[in-house]
Symmetry: C2
Subunit: 304 residues, 2 copies
């Protein structure tokens, strides 16, 4: 099956509900941006052996790629609109792979109200996938890393460290709630939208809590104190760390959480369930405290 046939059979159905895609039948897509809106755009790429293990279900690869991008849109408070996809696969391109990859995308398009609008399919010795996601935000309302102020509370959605712990289990061939968190991030799209007029800063945690908190501290020109005992852990993470205490640092230094880290003015409360993990102060840098005492951190986070 050649490139054009693959596009018509598997990718065009993902684009048909989005008029700007021109049904993937022209040289480019055409987007109308509603008056009073800005476009928020992000691009993430993943490759085999680095971001997913060989033999991973193509539907999961597709969803993980889409969701990591959705998480970036969420961190800016944007509403998902459309995406562009580059697929690089070894020759001959497996129709089964593409079929399953497109199935994964179709499921997530429904869940997150986003549509394929264009892309490219090429051959390459190693599988590599790249996605550019577009979202909408009312003018001037995008959440930024800058904006945190001394006195603000620091919050996170969900629980931390599950994906990093899950990667360890996945490498041993296990399947459980933790490996699911590793394979399938839950981008906090709705929460991002709800934070638009509320949060003073926001970022999604993809490289580890402390490293991403460091990005906010730097962009906002503030210090951040984070309290270890306040970090939200899942039951499964708690059990795994109880059995292997040396894994504790993965909670604050592990990657792939895709939770939102945000700051709120001192007197504000989150518009949805979230955990207060610390407080913004004057100065610079991020400190991790255990019962009020700073603890040394070996490795701040995951640098790709």
């Amino acid at each position: 099956m050649n490139e054009f046939a693959l596009i018509r059979k598997y990718f065009a159905p993902l684009a048909e509900a989005f008029p700007g895609s021109l049904n993937l039948s022209d040289d480019a897509a055409i987007l109308d941006i509603p008056e009073g809106s800005q476009l928020v755009i992000t691009k993430d790429a993943i490759s085999e052996k680095v971001h997913f293990l060989p033999g991973t279900d193509p539907a999961l690869i597709a969803k993980k790629l889409l969701r990591t991008n959705l998480s970036d849109l969420a961190s800016m408070g944007a509403t998902p609109l459309c995406y562009f996809l580059a697929v690089a696969l070894p020759k001959p391109i497996s129709e089964d792979f593409i079929a399953r990859f497109a199935e994964g995308l179709a499921e997530d398009q429904k869940q997150f109200s986003i549509h394929l609008a264009g892309g490219d399919t090429i051959t390459s010795a190693t599988p590599v996938f790249s996605l550019t996601a577009h979202g909408l935000i009312p003018k001037g309302k995008a959440l930024r890393r800058s904006g945190a102020k001394a006195g603000d509370g620091i919050y996170v959605t969900g629980t931390l460290g599950d994906a990093a712990l899950g990667l360890l289990d996945a490498r041993e061939g296990k399947k459980n709630a933790l490996t699911e968190r590793y394979h399938l991030p839950q981008p906090r799209v709705n929460q991002g939208v709800e934070l638009r007029n509320v949060a003073s800063s926001c970022i999604d945690i993809s490289d580890g809590l402390l490293q991403d908190a460091g990005h906010v501290a730097k962009a906002s020109n503030v210090a951040m104190d984070i309290h270890l005992e306040q970090l939200p852990l899942s039951q499964e993470a708690r059990e795994k760390i109880a059995a292997q205490p040396e894994l504790l640092p993965l909670i604050y230094s592990g990657g792939d959480d895709y939770e939102l880290l945000f700051t709120l003015p001192e007197d504000a409360t989150p518009p949805f369930p979230a955990t207060l993990i610390g407080r913004v102060g004057k100065g610079e840098g991020v400190r991790l405290l255990e019962h009020g005492k700073e603890i040394p951190v070996q490795r701040l986070g995951y640098s790709h």
Copy 2:
């Protein structure tokens, strides 16, 4: 050098003149679209051994990637605005490669008035690069593949087949005007803009003249007659084909021309030098004629 340092040193300078990039320091870019404009978006990817030969100057790889995308914008009549870039390189990522790649981008950004607005750098066993280019067009003015009418003249910019002939020479280690055309497409950005209110249809020739003409014929629901003796050839292509007549089909079936194929109403003339190569008729499909007689075509074009 880690990912963040690479971005700051080599990629942030490519983004600094474009405010929406937020200096590549946030989770996503924020784009303002002028009232009365639409956004035209395209995405192309390239991989080593498929789209460029190993050892190719990284600056040339970067330029070719950017220019193939610019060619898609040109085919819609759009003015270049900004682009998002995914770079996948073997570990450890070579700083020299990135430095030279960014140099190539910097040169072309100046030439084509476009800016980096975001992206991702990852590791991968094989080098793969993906780019999403954004352009602006006044509302409703985008050139499309559909729109050609019986009686319209069919035109092309520049000369045909040089890149396909140049690839043969490049494989033999030669360097000449043809290999330059293969390595470095000349996207017809200005011509695309000039065609906005003039052309009835437009496409860029990337997969071979006849195949791309076929896309226009199909989208416009018309037939196209193209006259072999009218096809514009460079002096170098003429000489090469005189020496090896069996290479003639590369003129109409070879890829990588990145010239514009467009149609104009019968009484219109092109707003810039271009070659009339045939005429739109009723019916369907593309015919290649030599002195009025249809000649059989073995291979329509390049299917990736």
